[in-house]
Amino acid sequence: MESIKEEKKLLMYTYLLGIVLFFNLFFIGKDGFDKGALIMGVIICFIFAYSHFIIRRFFPDGDKYILLFSNVLAVIGMGMIYRLDSPMALKQLIWYTVGIAVFILVVVLMPSLSKFGKYKYFYMICTLILMSMGSIFGDPTNGSKNWISIAGFTFQPTEFGKLSLVAYLAASLQYYGKNLKDKAELLKIKALIEPGIVVMISLGFMVTQKDLGSALIFFAISITMLYIATSNLKYVLVCLGLFIIGGFISYKLFGHVRLRFMIWGDPWKYGNNEGHQVVQSLISIASGGLFGTGLGLGYPKMVPVRESDFIFSAISEEMGLLTGFAILILYFLMFYRCMRVPIYSKDNFTRLLAVGYSTMIAAQALVIVGGVVGAIPLTGITLPLVSYGGSSMIITFFSLGILQKISEDGQSYE
């Protein structure tokens, strides 16, 4: 009982955050008061409350914090996007609603997930198709060749490919080591060859499509799942080594890889052209200070691509570095809750699935924030839940839905 009261208190604070954010936006409207902001704030609180209500009422055993943290992140994102470009924020609201709907549907409609472990080859084919689509049909936008337009909607097939890759790896690694406990190492490695090839092909597609960020994330997901499945540090190190070699080769082969590293080394030198994005991002973050300039008082519009890839810079400038840190903390806490889920899970497939999706979200956050602050070379990916982006929102909520579902199921056995 006590925990429910505390949970309610936590929820109250989240509503408060939404209200305060949009109240602020209400006051800083361009021509006086911006009523649209208030309306949007109310709608978000409504959707948020509804989603919580459904999940808590009908599925009270699952993890309570995953939905909460994702909503906090989404609300911060929508607040900032509204400040930057209110029509876009409206679109983001729609994507958010769709995402929440996907989340709820996954939890409600999906049958027990362990059954899905049998469709290994289906996942493999999906992965290969999605990964290659970019290379075959894609047209270069913003320097990466992995966007496809169908019926007026543009999306990145590799984003969806991530989902099927995790499913595939979970399906093929779930039986690793079973019944082979004392058998020779070689036999065990044989089981790894097939997934290894699939991963390498996928990485290859992504590098040629110039989507280096996704490649990095894929790799992180793959070795994490590998380690969880095999408990063998040696394999991880071997893969790391292969990755470094692969990276080195692509550095030599591909100009665009070299370019990224060049800009990362000294962004100021290229401040006028290629390094412009990073330089403006660094300046933006520095101008905010710890507490930020206050919504509407900074100049986040000087940063390019500010509603998606660089949303973190815009947030740091106007809401402060402290908010930036809070976002990273939230991602880690969400990761922590997500990783707790597979502990209670019944079978290996769902375990690996959960690990894969958790790593996907956390790695994506690390890679884009790292690139935006200059810690690692910049890549063109979004900050999950915070950045503007329909496919990103849907995919993230889908993965979170799966995680929530697994945490639901997992409670039946201790």
């Binding site: 969880i228 520095a286 991602y331």
Partner: protein, 476 residues
């Protein structure tokens, strides 16, 4: 199973380390490099902040706009000078690359001040939808006069300057310097301007130091009238040369011999011999004291301008040649056109020299007067009686003397010519500077002018003509 849990824990630890590393990296770079980052030239934020206020307008004395600011982007404004080169030296310029000069520099803070009081900065509940516009400056300049002065000076094809003042208030009605420059095209022209030997950027009206020549006789006359009793009625014999102790110190222009003359005639016809001898009679100290009353050798306050001090030298009593020459505005005497305009205006104003002002008022963007410059007296530089005498003398110059070209039908113009010798270098034969100072009308003068046309020849020529035309423009 436990195996699995341990693996999960290890993975979580790895990610925890990664997150902490990222947060540390951000903290580190914020603490140690943010200053450098913010100072980078790619940081447009300071310009955007400054650009929030639309720069105020500079007006002439009748509230005609002389400048126009428009915002062209989030970080910059374009300032247009509506009347171009004629006003360059008076107003100055503001350029993103070359900085500020003149009134734009002196009043930069007011021009960019939109009147947000400290309290309103704290009040959150005000609508900030209005455009912030800086305060305006109302100068004392008369556009019609200024443009005419610039046109006349430019037509001479000589370097020079013109200053026109209101003798009662010290207001600067016109201030022109030639050569000038186009303030709307500094990017294009600046390099050339800086290397141009004629120094177009120099405001000759307040910074040009020239030997005043015979216009200085006005001060010598004042000094004599106030130091030598009865000098006005004393007779004098002018034989064309001044000789002391067997040395010829100076001679009249063209060697002219005036014969028996009195004070008035000597002034009206500009006798060097008479005034050179007066100089010796006065002695260097007395003349210098008078000159310093007129603010020679002294820093003069002026609203909106910096006036370089004019110079009157100190000579030992045995330097008779220099003393005589100094009395006729040569030797080491140097004066700015502004100084000589003030001399004329003091005569016109009953002997009271007014502090020159270029800015009459600072107005808020809505037109409310925030600050008004009140006319200030610099001092009674001569007695009203002396002033009255000088007025008469100066009227005579135009009606009977060397300043005939300054005459205007229907207006009583008074003044003094000056033909200042100067040598660009020891051997060159350079034409003299053409000077004229004057005021009008005779009763209740409203304008005092000083004109110098460098190497323009006799004062009664170009400078007098220009003065006449300007008097006509202003008073008709």
């Amino acid at each position: 199973m436990n195996d699995f849990v341990n693996n999960i824990k290890k993975v979580m630890l790895v990610f925890l380390v990664l997150f902490i590393a990222l947060i540390s990296y951000i903290t580190y770079s914020y603490m140690f490099t943010s200053e450098k980052t913010l100072a980078s030239t790619f940081n447009q934020r300071l310009w955007a902040e400054r650009n929030k206020v639309l720069r105020g307008t500079i007006y002439d004395k009748d509230m005609n706009a002389l400048t126009k600011s428009t915002k062209i982007s989030e970080t910059s404004q374009k300032l247009k000078y509506l009347q171009g080169a004629a006003f360059s030296h008076a107003i100055g310029y503001m350029d993103p690359i070359y900085g500020l000069a003149g009134l734009e520099k002196k009043y930069d803070a007011q021009l960019m001040d939109s009147g947000e009081s400290a309290i309103s900065k704290l009040v959150f509940f005000s609508k900030d939808t209005e455009e912030k516009i800086g305060n305006g400056l109302r100068t004392t300049l008369d556009s019609k006069l200024q443009l005419k002065a610039y046109e006349l000076l430019k037509q001479t094809n000589h370097k020079g300057a013109i200053v026109a003042l209101n003798p009662k208030t010290g207001e600067v009605l016109a201030m022109v310097s030639n050569p000038s420059y186009d303030p709307n095209n500094l990017e294009r022209d600046m390099k050339g301007l800086n290397t141009n030997n004629d120094v177009p950027l120099l405001n000759r009206a307040v910074s040009g130091l020239y030997p005043p020549g015979s216009v200085f006789k006005t001060i010598t006359a004042v000094s004599a009238l106030e130091n030598i009793p009865g000098v006005y009625n004393k007779g004098f014999s002018d034989n064309g040369k001044l000789v002391v102790n067997g040395t010829q110190l100076l001679k009249n222009y063209d060697g002219e011999v005036f014969g028996n003359i009195d004070f008035k005639k000597a002034y009206v016809h500009s006798s060097n011999v008479f005034f050179g001898s007066l100089g010796i009679d006065l002695g260097n100290k007395a003349l210098r004291d008078t000159a310093e009353k007129f603010y020679f050798n002294k820093d003069m306050n002026a609203t909106g301008m910096t006036i370089d001090p004019s110079q009157f030298p100190t000579y030992k009593s045995n330097e008779k040649g220099n003393i005589a020459q100094s009395a006729i505005g040569q030797a080491a005497v140097l004066a700015t056109p502004m100084e000589m305009a003030l001399v004329a205006s003091s005569v016109a104003n009953n002997g009271i020299m007014m502090e020159p002002m270029l800015v009459k008022e600072i107005l808020s963007s809505k037109g409310k007067s925030l600050e008004t410059t009140e006319p200030k007296q610099l001092g009674q530089v001569m007695t009203p009686e002396t002033a009255s005498t000088m007025k008469e003398l100066m009227r005579g110059v135009v009606t009977d003397g060397t300043g005939g070209n300054a005459a205007v039908s229907g207006i009583d113009v008074s003044g003094k010519t000056g033909t200042a010798d100067h040598k660009a270098d020891a051997n060159a034969q350079t034409a003299a500077h053409s000077w004229f100072i004057g005021f009008a009308p005779y009763d209740n003068p409203t304008i005092a002018i000083a004109v110098i046309v460098e190497e323009g020849g006799v004062g009664g020529g170009k400078a007098a003509q220009i003065t006449g035309k300007l008097m006509e423009t202003y008073l008709k």
